[in-house]
Symmetry: C2
Amino acid sequence: MTDMTFTRIQCDSCPIRHRAVCARCDDDELALLEAIKYYRSFEPGQTIVWSGDQMDFLGSVVEGIATLNQTMEDGRTQMVGLLLPSDFVGRPGRGTAAYDTVAATKLTMCCFRRAPFEELMVRTPHIAQRLLEMTLDELDAAREWMLLLGRKTAREKIASLLVIIARRNSTGTKATPTDGAHFDLPLTREATADYLGLTLETVSRQISALKRDGVIVLEGKRGITVPDFHRLIEETGDDTDGGVLV
Amino acid sequence: MTDMTFTRIQCDSCPIRHRAVCARCDDDELALLEAIKYYRSFEPGQTIVWSGDQMDFLGSVVEGIATLNQTMEDGRTQMVGLLLPSDFVGRPGRGTAAYDTVAATKLTMCCFRRAPFEELMVRTPHIAQRLLEMTLDELDAAREWMLLLGRKTAREKIASLLVIIARRNSTGTKATPTDGAHFDLPLTREATADYLGLTLETVSRQISALKRDGVIVLEGKRGITVPDFHRLIEETGDDTDGGVLV
DNA sequence: CGAACTATTGAGTGTTCTCAATCCATGTGG
DNA sequence: CCACATGGATTGAGAACACTCAATAGTTCG
C-alpha cells in the first residue's frame, strides 16, 4: 500500500520545511517530529481515506496533489478541498475522516501517527500556532471558493481555476505569472467539474470556448499556455487589481 | 454608533461563556479578558465593517446574527459566513477585514481591541486552542456549505437552510428538533438568496412550493413551523440518518 | 394615506444539465 | 501485431431548472 520513495529525508532538506505545519519549529522541536514521521506514497486516483473511516494518522502533502471530496446519497459529488504541497491532512482531535481524501496525482505525504502527534502538539505551541494560521488560510480559501460556487458563471469558474493553478505553479507565491506561462492542469475533466460544481461536459465546452476565443492555448489534454495573463484574470469576474485569490 | 445594552455583564453569567473563544479559560484567564472587553450593539442591516477596512477589534457574537459577505465588481454577492452567538469575528494577525460583516438582526458583540487580545493570546494557550477548534469547525461548516452551493437544487438548498436554522434554534445542539418545531427565519429573502447562491425570486418560489407541499407551514413572513421534521430532512438531499450537517 | 421596503407571483429567456454519439490514447490479450 | 476494450475528452441536440424582467401585494413607518 505504501511505496516509500522519500524513505528517510532529513527535515532540513525537506521541500516544504518552511511552509508546512512544522514551519515555525526550532531545531529541537523538529527533531521530535523527525522521530515520529514516516512517508507514504500514493498513485493517481488512489483513495487515501474514505469518509467515515478511522484515520489513525495526520500529515502534510510533500509532493503532488490530493483532493477532499464529499458525496451525496445519489452520487453527486463536490470537491471541498484541493491540497497542494505543504497543506495539512486530517483534523487533530477527530479520529474519523469527514471527507474522502484522494490522490489526484502521484502523491507523497509526510505522516505522523495520531496519538504521538497530538501529544506533541500540546507541548509544542509552535505547531498549534502554525496549524491555526494554516486553518485560517484554508477558511479564507474555502470562502473564496464559496463565491465561485454560488455566483460565478461556468466560464468564470474555469478561468478562476486556471488562475489559481497558474499562480500556485509559477512561483509558489501569489504573484501574477508572466504572460506565456505554461502549466499542466493536474485534474481530469471530471475532477475539475467536481471542483467547480459543474458537469464534465460543461467543463469541456468552456475550456474549448476559452481556447476558441484565444484566452488559452492547449497542448494535449492537460497542457495549457496563457498568452495574456491579464486577459485570463478579466475572465474570472474578480477584481482585476490585486484581489485576494488564494 | 454603539448602543451599550450589555453594559457590564460578568463573564460568569455570560450566555456564551462555555462556547465562545473564552470557553476553556480558567478564572484567572477570564479575569484578564474581562479587563479588556467591551460591548457593542448593532441594528439590523447595519454594517459592522466593510471589506478592506481597518479592523481594530476582534470579538464574539453574544446575541443576534451577523453575516460575512463577499461582493463582486458587478454587484453579485455571496454570503460566506453566518455568525451565531458564540461565533468569533475577525482574524488574529490580520488588521484588515476580508469581508463585509453585517448585522442580520439586532446584535450584541463582546469586543477586544486587537493589540491587547493578540498579546493575551500568546500568553494564554487556552484561547489559541479554543480558537483553533472553532476555526476547524467553521472550516467543516464552510465545506458543507460548498456542497450545498455546488450540487444542491434550489429546493434542497432551502430545505437545508431551514434544517440548519431549526437545529441551531431548537436546543443549541445538533440534535434533531421535535416535529412541530417553530422558529423564525432570521434572514430576509435577499439575505437568504445570498446565503444559498440563488435569486430572491427563486427563494420565494421554493418556500412557497415547500408550503404548498405541506413540508412547512408559514406564520407571517418569517415564522415557520415544521410538522414532520424527518420529511424536511428528506428534502435536503442529505443522508437521512445522522449525516453531519452543522 | 402614501412612501419605502419586503415578498409573492407570472411570463419568457437562457445557461447549464442530461443523454448520447464520437474521438483519441493507452494498454492488453488473442 | 492487430483487434479490441478501457478511460478520458469532445461535441451535439434537446430538456430543465433557475434567472431576468415585470407587475402586484402586503407591512411598517412617517
